[in-house]
Symmetry: C2
Subunit: 407 residues, 2 copies
Amino acid sequence: MAKLRGNAIVGQSGGPTAVINQSLVGVIETAAGMPEIETLLGARHGVKGILGENFVDLFKESKETLEAVANTPSSALGSVRKKPTRDECLQMFEVMKKHNVRYFFYIGGNDSAETAFITNQMAKESNYELRCFHVPKTIDNDLRVTDHCPGFGSAAKFVAQAFIGDNLDNRSLPGIKINIIMGRHAGFLTAASALAKDRSDDGPHLIYLPERPITREQFRDEVAEVYNRLGRCIIAVSEGIIDAAAEGHKTFTEVVMSEAAEIEKDTHGNIQLSGSGALGDWLANYLKRELGSTLRVRADTFGYLQRSFPGVVSSVDAAEARMCGRKAVEFATQGDVDGSVAMIRTESGAYGLDYICTALANVAKETRSLPDEFIAATGNYVTPAFIDYARPLVGTLPTVGYFEGMK
Amino acid sequence: MAKLRGNAIVGQSGGPTAVINQSLVGVIETAAGMPEIETLLGARHGVKGILGENFVDLFKESKETLEAVANTPSSALGSVRKKPTRDECLQMFEVMKKHNVRYFFYIGGNDSAETAFITNQMAKESNYELRCFHVPKTIDNDLRVTDHCPGFGSAAKFVAQAFIGDNLDNRSLPGIKINIIMGRHAGFLTAASALAKDRSDDGPHLIYLPERPITREQFRDEVAEVYNRLGRCIIAVSEGIIDAAAEGHKTFTEVVMSEAAEIEKDTHGNIQLSGSGALGDWLANYLKRELGSTLRVRADTFGYLQRSFPGVVSSVDAAEARMCGRKAVEFATQGDVDGSVAMIRTESGAYGLDYICTALANVAKETRSLPDEFIAATGNYVTPAFIDYARPLVGTLPTVGYFEGMK
């Protein structure tokens, strides 16, 4: 079979990560060595750039530039939250035909896999040969098939380092501290806070995941128990925790916001109670109200810092993200194959990976949650199995020194 | 004159920093070499440890432990928010006499300098020879006399790195982004966000400082101007910004919270509107309400991450913090002298410092604000003079790579 020759498009989609540019550069450097790929067009802001034919010629970039971009967080081509409609996919497909595009690489989460999947199906229906490849990326770590997702390790490292520092801060000035962590539907990143724990009384002492609904009273009682025992309590809370007392699997934020909206209606909209800090602030105020207003309770919401903080990058994550980009190009140029790159952990003792190609349909649409075996029976912590899973992904964490006389 | 011989106490006070343990270890290693100091007692949780005679023998710690502690953020001895009353100072003084303490080193902000000052005066009144030394520490950078304060450089580095990442994030997914930064009365740390700016359209685009009161309408209009021009806007806001429309120099937070408290009264306390994220959330919601609800506006509050994040430390700050601890012991053992260590920038071209001893009264109580020459005439940015001042303090910042084709 003659090799498929033509141009290629690469794009980035969804929330940025610290290593999404590693994957992009992995695509560029590998494509540059493939005679099948004549030009590599970088689509600015993902599908928006394809629809608007807003491209950058990526083969014109120097090695030095590529290396500098690879080591820069966030999406160098620009990103987009847009999930194209079927009509827009058709338009994109027309643009691709017009530019003789034969390879399409899309770096992102499950929505990006779906975009690649739909575009791929349209090409098949039109008998237009187009290899479509999805390169996994998400700090939420919620894609199916792959053992973990590029971007997660670095975000997990940020979260773990933040908790190492916060635990020391809290030892120094004891109190109750709530930290709200990203991951609306999957608790992986919140769970990664447990990597900060070294000494038996280190925080986080409690971890609340979207996979385990709780009531506010349960939250209060569990915090009080730790506080009464240790004189302090550090709590990791996913932004997506579910209120077990509410009907219809609602998040705490939804419940609290709808209570607030009722009040807002009464006050003619003079106040706004939503916002990124609202969940943490609500929980902190709730604890003060229930456990005593003189308690030192404070909440921080890590926000965007988690996903594109320069200088806090897992070297393992960076290398794997790069390899995922490379493998996408290698797979795509090997024959009539489309798919998503997945990392499979090798069975042997030491940490290692195989990179495989899985069908786009396996990764598109649905996501996965933190598996049961990673969640403690109490529902408010992780298991040692999770630590074994996550530790190799974050690379080296800072070490902490204590006085011998205070141990 | 015979040298004063006896025991010494060292303590840490106030909010932790990334390098406060460098100062502590500077005190320990220098004191260990001084025949005048027989034992060095570490007071656990500052003045609380002195009052409760809760001490650690710091000469028993190994060199390896000292180095590990020096490189660990937060206060290794534990900290305290307590400012002792005059009666408690008297009690502390009695404890010191009982333990034959002749040297007292207190690492902290202006309150700590005042504690050292009062203790020193009591000793003088009782004709008890006691050398009292304050070692400067604060991420707020608001102590008088010294050019800058240990702890500020590392916090400034964290803030600058956060803005480098957030600027890239915002380039990738454009919108309006507000970041709330610590420093209730002094804008130094908020101003440090400007160190993130490299390219002419980089954020932060606006910087709001406690030194320049603004109205909410002014804030809205200035943000709208940037957003209309660039299609995005990143804003650094001090937690202590003052509402120019309110009487009595009230902070935005106070004004917004008192408006909310009125509403809370009406709703029988069923909601709580205060919290660490409240200012950012209020500003974000206000902009959405005023400029259009479909705008992508988001606020993050950096919170405690700014002050004790391990792995993001200015090497310059770390070395200077260490030196401040060393100098305190050197000054104290030189003769009948008490004071606070201050760093004075040398006049020559390259960055360099002289370490001097200034009177405790010069540092106690009052603090300083960001000087006028560091604030732009517009009131919503910093001057090049501030950048010249702050850049040497943060050490190296991560470099950012861009595609040539997108410049």
